[in-house]
Symmetry: C2
Subunit: 238 residues, 2 copies
């Protein structure tokens, strides 16, 4: 199987934001080659669904381009967003490794390019390449840690403002330092932010306005500026 994206997985590593920290970074050449030989590359339009919760795992997805929303929905229609998946990250690894249903649904937020690896191909690959198993374990550790952070945010905060402050600070890690403070692109709607931190859309709007009036943040289109990080931190009660 020769795709037009030969060695895509390994090249992905150089493009992705968290250089060197992803599943497919720094694997040996032979391991990379083995991976490349079992992957399927495909594109999805915006709003496409890669998988839904409860479904048995067909395989893992490696996001090459675009962003994917990973979320859980209750029977009453309420939604929690687990995370927004960035290029270079892997989707569905835990379900495949543990052979249990996906717990979340994955939906593209933009046109995406994705590599897919079938469940049995991937499991065979893992058992044949020890370094990949270890990498998988490391990757899953990271996911677990992030999940714990979200538990902390949902379960350990009193107020909505605390949650939002934490969320903004968390987001700002991906931003850039400037003279005026940390600058981040925030591509999520208030509704989506609410679904991450567990509050209603209106509360996000109100609390954010409140932050603006207190000059803790400044918003300009989709860019967010945090002029005084430590002020926001004390507000986050951390």
């Amino acid at each position: 199987m020769h795709s037009p994206y030969g060695l895509e997985l390994t090249r992905t590593c150089e493009q992705c934001p968290q250089k060197g920290e992803n599943f497919f970074c720094n694997l040996s050449k032979s391991t990379c080659k083995a991976l490349d030989s079992i992957k399927f590359t495909s594109g999805y339009p915006k709003g496409a669904v890669l998988f839904v919760e409860e479904e048995m795992p067909r395989g893992i997805f490696v996001l090459c381009k675009g962003r994917v929303k990973l979320s859980m929905t209750s029977s009453e229609g309420k939604t929690v967003i687990l995370r927004i998946v960035q290029p270079g990250e892997v989707l569905g690894l835990h379900a495949v490794v543990s052979a249990r249903p996906y717990q979340a649904s994955a939906e593209t937020l933009e046109p995406c390019q994705v590599n897919f690896i079938r469940r049995d191909d991937f499991l065979r690959f893992l058992s044949e390449h020890a370094e990949a198993s270890l990498r998988a374990a490391q990757h899953l550790s990271g996911r677990y840690q992030a999940a714990c952070e979200q538990i902390r945010s949902l379960g350990l905060t009193h107020s909505a403002s605390e949650k939002l402050a934490r969320f903004l600070l968390e987001s700002s890690l991906k931003g850039q330092e400037t003279k005026l403070g940390v600058r981040v692109r925030l591509t999520m709607t208030h509704e989506e932010i609410g679904q991450v931190i567990g509050t209603s859309r209106e509360t996000v709007t109100r609390t954010l306005s409140d932050f603006k009036s207190k000059h803790l943040v400044a918003v300009n289109g989709s860019t967010l500026l945090i002029p005084n990080k430590s002020a926001l931190e004390t507000f986050a009660g951390a």
Copy 2:
């Protein structure tokens, strides 16, 4: 290093509740032996602290006997309980694998017997035994799934009664079917239950009383009886 508990880890498997599903179950003999040669066995009294959050991981802990509370605490003293660790389970694996600080604190609830494996010994062991890496990945998957469930419980439920109902149903999985319904030993205080599901102690007390009066549950000392599981399920909105 020859401990008086020769092959303790593998024997643990036979005693533990989730037979065959734990980290050290069904590993090859040579792998087990390698594990046994790097472990340290020790006992802890009730209330002992194995590790605290933020601390860098010294190694992993395998619980042989007793129960351990895994929890996170906020600066204001609020607490979330991630889970109660049962015999046969592993503690601190994610921190060791990802070389990041523990995210939770571990405190014994009873006198415990624990096997400890030093960080570098364990990592070397993983790299030398491919099957163990894979097992580690599987174990971490399980932890991740449980964390997602807790996120669902904390973020996706409207009411306290929904949370409690879910918690009771979740607990009842470990219980026994009887003529009168499912019977479980519930060794947690209302306070602790509140810390798991994210409500105050009083709310747990009140909601549980409410369930009793509606004959959804019956409590007798530390045993809980769920006469009509499906009634409780509809109440949990699941």
